[in-house]
């Protein structure tokens, strides 16, 4: 099932939104952090894992999802959250630690929860997989519609939770799809030094479920494969595993000197940037004009600018609010 024009344009716009969001966060993150780089300082403190380059994974999969479907994501969650329809204003405010944030500032960038669209994420590697299986089980038991999708990095495919969760989902034939965003690096450790096989889709065979590999960070190909897997889950035929070859254009986190990258890797990756490629595709195949492009990009940027303004203008919570939402 190939994406139609509207679906392509939706994906393209989300990719622009996501990329520009990260570019803004990157700049704001550095405020207050020079000359000495100290994570504690500035309007956005703490660790910051940007998703630049990985947008195709998010849009190609989430194009098939509605608010009722469940998504779990990782320490690198912004692109997926945006594609899943998380409230951008309140997500941005959360990243700034503001009272108007999704969690009133308690969670921050690695703990984004939006129950309205069934999105959550966690900073512990592979730990979104069990909850995705559980959500799928819940839908099955309640006879309610909806599938669950767990996004993870390729590094997470070597965790126990990865293997146990897939097996559990497979024996119980649950409506869940596991999506590996293979950006080739787990912090400084290259995939080929940490993973015994080349592509993780092969591991699906060990659990008797379909496995798919999507090369070249291609949103259109991801859309097709994800559509197949999600339809299968919706039909009650059980889980699938998808590995997507993607790349991160940023460091592991802000402040990463990236000394582990081979020389020239970054330039080569930028030459494969999926956003200009998608634009070219629209021009070639969808009669896309320069004017239409500018309008779409402007709209995407505007949305982000407003979200950032909302976050900046919002108040910090009172310190004592730390004691709310918990029993002591």
């Amino acid at each position: 099932m190939k994406p139609n024009r509207n679906q392509k344009l939706w994906m393209y716009e989300q990719m622009h939104t996501s990329r520009y969001f990260e570019e803004c966060i990157e700049k704001i993150y550095m405020e207050g952090k020079s000359p000495a780089f100290n994570m504690a300082n500035g309007p956005i403190p703490g660790e910051m894992h940007l998703s630049n380059g990985q947008e195709p994974c998010a849009v190609g999969v989430c194009a098939h999802l509605d608010a009722e479907d469940i998504v779990t994501s990782t320490h690198r969650p912004h692109h997926v959250a945006i594609a899943k329809g998380v409230d951008l204003d309140r997500m941005t405010a959360e990243i700034f630690g503001k009272k108007s944030g999704l969690s009133g500032g308690r969670g921050g960038h690695m703990h984004i929860f939006d129950a309205d669209v069934n999105f959550s994420c966690s900073g512990i590697i592979a730990e979104g997989m069990g909850p995705a299986v559980g959500a799928a089980l819940s839908r099955h038991l309640q006879k309610k519609a909806g599938v669950a999708v767990a996004f993870i990095g390729e590094g997470a495919a070597n965790q126990g939770a990865f293997h146990e969760s897939i097996n559990l989902a497979a024996v119980w034939k649950l409506p869940v799809v596991f999506v590996i965003e293979d950006n080739a690096w787990g912090i400084s450790v290259a995939k080929n030094t940490s993973t015994a096989i080349e592509h993780n889709d092969a591991r699906a065979a060990a659990y008797g479920i379909p496995g798919h590999f999507v090369p070249d960070n291609d949103p259109l190909a991801i859309f097709e494969v994800a559509g197949k897997a999600i339809d299968r889950a919706r039909r009650g035929e059980g889980p699938s595993l998808i590995e997507i070859e993607t790349f991160r254009l940023a460091g592991h986190f802000m402040g990463d000197a990236e000394g582990y990258r081979p020389k020239g890797e970054k330039d080569a990756l930028y030459a494969r940037d999926p956003i200009p490629k998608m634009r070219q595709h629209l021009i070639d195949e969808e009669n896309w004009s320069e004017e239409q492009d500018q309008e779409l990009v402007h709209r995407a940027h505007k949305r982000v600018d407003l979200a950032i303004q909302f976050a900046r203008d919002s108040e910090y919570p009172a310190p004592e609010e730390a004691m709310e939402q918990v029993f002591v």
Partner: protein, 340 residues
């Protein structure tokens, strides 16, 4: 400590790496494994230089497979090796705890001493830089509660090197906790008092022995890692108003040097315990209980300054409000004065 002819100030990160390198040079059985501890030198710098010197055979980057490599550490140690294993953040131990508290900590006992498990586990603790509740915990008590493992946590580079050397040479499993704010990595801020003179030659700091880092007569302030620095800062401020505070750095959670604390409280009659770990069921209650059990007459009810029993919030105002500080220690002292 003898007065050094030449100051050689190191960060805790460098002191740890130096100790490991020296032990690896003299003991073939010592090897290191963990995530990003190879060419990168550890996210917190404490294995820097080791991969260059010893290569990938003895300094091994692992997959993100903690269940496997914690279990592997137990197996290798039982078979005669002396693994040093790093797991970046103490918050991550949930994924591999079984191998730690059911195997590493128990096999010596279960085997009646036939089997020894000389593993050193290194992990970072602590917050203060808005990294939220899965990257800022201390979990001192979680490890200290479970019998069968020693637990050390240095507050400065001298102790870090000596405790690391002692840990590697120890035939028991040792958890080595280093606090991020003391590590000397600029990007996490740096507590300057943690960067101290470190002799080049090898030495050990005995595990299970506290240090009186500042002598005083009016109140005993007990802490570990970051708590010691809060204690020292509070003591300096209290001194300005004529209050003489004794500060004790426990250095080890297990074994716990109760004697040093008790002796000090006998002298001062006042006790404040500082801990960045969650308050309930933790270090603060253990110390206060140990003193109470002695029936020492106190001039005021003991006080504790610990992390409230809440997950650690991300946003700066909430986190800073919840963290222990010198000011909170002073407030605790003032409360004691008022109630005396």
């Amino acid at each position: 400590m003898t007065v050094a002819t030449k100051e050689r100030k190191l960060t805790i990160a460098r002191a740890m790496a130096e100790s490991i390198a020296q032990e690896m040079r003299t003991d073939e059985r010592v090897f290191v494994m963990g995530e990003d501890i190879g060419p990168l030198g550890g996210v917190f710098g404490n294995t820097r230089g080791l991969h260059d010197e010893f290569g990938s055979e003895r300094v091994r980057d692992t997959p993100i497979s903690e269940t496997a490599f914690m279990g592997a550490a137990v197996g290798a140690a039982s078979d005669g090796m002396r693994p040093i294993v790093e797991l970046m953040f103490v918050d991550f131990f949930g994924v591999c705890f079984d191998a730690i508290y059911n195997l590493m900590a128990k096999n010596t006992y279960f085997s009646g001493g036939n089997v020894q498990v000389p593993v050193v586990l290194m992990t970072s603790t602590g917050g203060g830089y808005s990294d939220a509740g899965q990257h800022s915990q201390c979990l001192h008590a979680t490890f200290a509660h479970l019998p069968g493992m020693k637990v050390v946590a240095p507050s400065n580079a001298y102790d870090a090197k000596g405790l690391m050397t002692a840990a590697i040479r120890d035939n028991n499993p040792v958890i080595f906790m280093f606090h991020k704010a003391l590590q000397g990595m600029g990007w996490l801020g740096t507590e300057k008092d943690a960067i101290v003179h470190v002799p080049e030659e090898t030495y050990t700091v005995p595990i299970g022995k506290a240090a009186v880092v500042r002598e005083g007569t009016d109140v005993t302030i007990v802490g570990i890692t970051s708590g010691v620095h809060h204690g020292i800062k509070a003591a300096r401020k209290l001194a300005e108003r004529g209050v003489s505070a004794e500060v004790i750095d426990l250095r080890s959670l297990v074994p716990l040097d109760r004697e040093t604390v008790i002796e000090s409280v006998r002298k001062t009659g006042r006790l404040i315990v500082v801990d960045e770990d969650y308050q309930s069921y933790g270090l603060t209650s253990e110390i206060i209980c140990s003193v109470a059990e002695q029936g020492i007459p106190l001039k005021a009810a003991p006080q504790r300054v610990a992390y409230p029993d809440i997950p650690i919030p991300f946003t700066r105002p909430m986190e800073q409000w919840a963290l222990p500080s010198a000011d909170k220690i002073i407030a605790a002292y003032e409360l004691m004065e008022k109630n005396t």
